[in-house]
C-alpha cells in the first residue's frame, strides 16, 4: 500500500493507505478526527469540507494518496485550547446550527471565504455557501454567523 505523509492540524502524520482511500476516511478512521462529517458522499453537501494547502476542499472527493505532502486543517484544528476560533464562536452566538451535522463544513467553508474576501456582503456569503447544505436552519442564522465571524476575524485566518 502507498505511504502518505501530510501535516494535519500542524502535526505530521504518516500512514499506509490503499489508493482508493478517501481523504475524509483517512481523517476519520485512521486519525480518529471525526469532526469532519460525511453527508451525501457525492460531493454536493459540503459536510466534509476541510482546508488543504489553505483552500477549502471536499474531502469525500479527494484521495488520501493525492494529499501526500499537503497541509490539512480540519475543524479540530481551529480552536486554541478552550478558546473557540472566532468563526466557531460566531456560529454559537448566532445559533448558526441546530443538529450540527453540517456545521464543521460550514465553518471551514466560511473561513476560506473570509480569507479571500474579508468583508463579504450577505449576497456573497449566500453565494459562497452554494456547496454547503443545511437541513435544519433555513440558512438565515448561518449567514448571520458568517457575517459576524468575518467581522470578528478582522480580515482573515
Amino acid at each position: 500500500m502507498p505511504a502518505v505523509t501530510m501535516t494535519v492540524n500542524g502535526v505530521s502524520r504518516s500512514a499506509d493507505v490503499e489508493g482508493r482511500t478517501l481523504l475524509v476516511d483517512f481523517l476519520r478512521e485512521q486519525l480518529a478526527l471525526t469532526g469532519t462529517h460525511v453527508g451525501c458522499d457525492t460531493s454536493q453537501c459540503g459536510a466534509c469540507v476541510v482546508h488543504m494547502n489553505g483552500q477549502s476542499v471536499k474531502s469525500c472527493t479527494c484521495l488520501a494518496v493525492d494529499a501526500d505532502g499537503a497541509d490539512v486543517t480540519t475543524i479540530e484544528g481551529l480552536a486554541n485550547g478552550a478558546d473557540l476560533h472566532p468563526m466557531q464562536e460566531a456560529f454559537r452566538e448566532h445559533h448558526g446550527l441546530q443538529c450540527g451535522f453540517c456545521t464543521p463544513g460550514m465553518v471551514m467553508s466560511a473561513i476560506d471565504l473570509v480569507n479571500r474576501n474579508p468583508n463579504p456582503s450577505e449576497g456573497e456569503v449566500r453565494h459562497w455557501l452554494d456547496g454547503n447544505f443545511c437541513r435544519c436552519t433555513g440558512y438565515h442564522n448561518i449567514v448571520k454567523a458568517v457575517m459576524a465571524g468575518a467581522d470578528a476575524m478582522g480580515g482573515g485566518s
Partner: protein, 264 residues
C-alpha cells in the same frame, strides 16, 4: 470503489509512460469528475496517474492573440485571474459559476475538457470561443475535439497539457443551471471573433453543439432579437427529471438571447 495502483510522476513523459504501462489507466487531475465516477463504480481503472507532481501545467500565459491556460489550472484560478478577467471576461465569469467554491478549488480545465461531461460548462466555452486543445503531441481544434458524451478525440495515452483561447471582440455565456449541482441544464456561449460568430450549446444535448442558424443570423445582425425567434429541434436533446427535451430546446433559445444581450 475498486482499488487501483496509484502513480504520481513528476513529468509529462512520466505520465505518458505510466499510462502506457497500465492495462486501463486514467489520468487524475482535480478529481471532481473522476472520483465521483469511481465511487459510483461507473469506471474501475487499474491505474490512476496523478498530475499533481508535474510542474508547469498551471500557468496562464498571454500570447497576444490568445490566452494559453495550463491544463491543471483550477476553475477558481481561471475565475480569479486578472489576465483572463481583462482579456476574455466571459471565460472568467463562466469559470466562476462552475459547481461550488470547493469544486472550483480542485476541478481543472484539462480535466473538464478530457472528461467531456455533456452538462459541463467548459466544452461550450471552448467551442464557442474557438479554442484549441493542446496535448503532449498535437493541437486539436475544439470543433474536432469534443464528441458525444464522455467522448473526445484523445488517444488512450494522450494528455491535455493546455487550452488556447483566441481573444475575441465580444463574448458572453448564459446558463440555466441545475440548482443542486450547478451543472448546465442548458448553457450557451456566444462569441464574435476573427472567424465570425460562434454559438455553442452545452447541457442540452448528448454533447456540445453549434447552432449554425443562430450564427448566421448574428453575423448579419448581432442583436438579441436576431436569435429570439430561432428555435432548435428537440430531436436528440437530453430528457431527464430536471428538464424534458422540448424544454431544453426552449432554454437554448432563451440562453442564446441572454448571452447576446450580455455581450453588450
Amino acid at each position: 470503489m475498486d482499488d487501483f495502483q496509484y502513480h504520481a510522476p513528476s513529468s509529462v513523459d512520466g505520465v505518458l509512460s505510466a499510462l502506457r504501462g497500465a492495462d486501463d489507466g486514467k489520468v487524475l487531475a482535480g478529481g471532481m469528475s473522476l472520483v465521483p465516477v469511481l465511487k459510483l463504480g461507473l469506471a474501475a481503472p487499474s491505474h490512476l496517474v496523478s498530475l499533481r507532481n508535474v510542474p508547469g501545467l498551471s500557468d496562464i500565459e498571454d500570447h497576444g492573440h490568445c490566452l494559453k491556460i495550463g491544463a491543471c489550472c483550477t476553475h477558481a484560478q481561471v475565475a480569479a485571474s486578472s489576465v483572463v478577467q481583462e482579456r476574455i471576461p466571459a471565460l472568467a465569469a463562466m469559470a466562476g459559476r462552475i459547481g461550488d467554491p470547493q469544486v472550483r478549488n480542485c476541478g481543472t480545465i484539462g480535466g473538464s475538457v478530457a472528461h467531456n461531461d455533456p452538462a459541463a460548462d467548459y466544452p461550450a466555452a471552448c467551442v464557442g470561443l474557438g479554442a484549441t486543445i493542446i496535448t503532449d503531441r498535437r493541437k486539436i481544434s475544439s470543433d474536432d475535439f469534443f464528441g458525444s458524451m464522455f467522448e473526445t478525440a484523445l488517444e488512450e495515452d494522450e494528455l491535455v497539457t493546455a487550452v488556447c483561447f483566441p481573444i475575441v471582440a465580444r463574448a458572453a455565456y448564459a446558463k440555466f443551471e441545475n440548482p443542486a449541482s450547478k451543472y448546465a441544464v442548458a448553457g450557451v456561449m456566444v462569441a464574435q471573433g476573427d472567424d465570425g460568430v460562434r454559438v455553442a450549446v452545452t447541457g442540452a444535448g448528448a454533447g456540445v453543439f453549434r447552432v449554425a442558424e443562430m450564427e448566421a443570423a448574428l453575423a448579419d445582425d448581432f442583436s438579441a432579437d436576431a436569435v429570439a425567434g430561432i428555435g432548435v429541434s428537440s430531436d436528440g436533446l437530453l430528457s431527464d427529471n430536471v428538464a424534458g427535451a422540448e424544454y431544453r430546446a426552449h432554454l437554448v433559445t432563451v440562453m442564446a438571447r441572454r448571452a447576446v444581450e450580455a455581450c453588450g
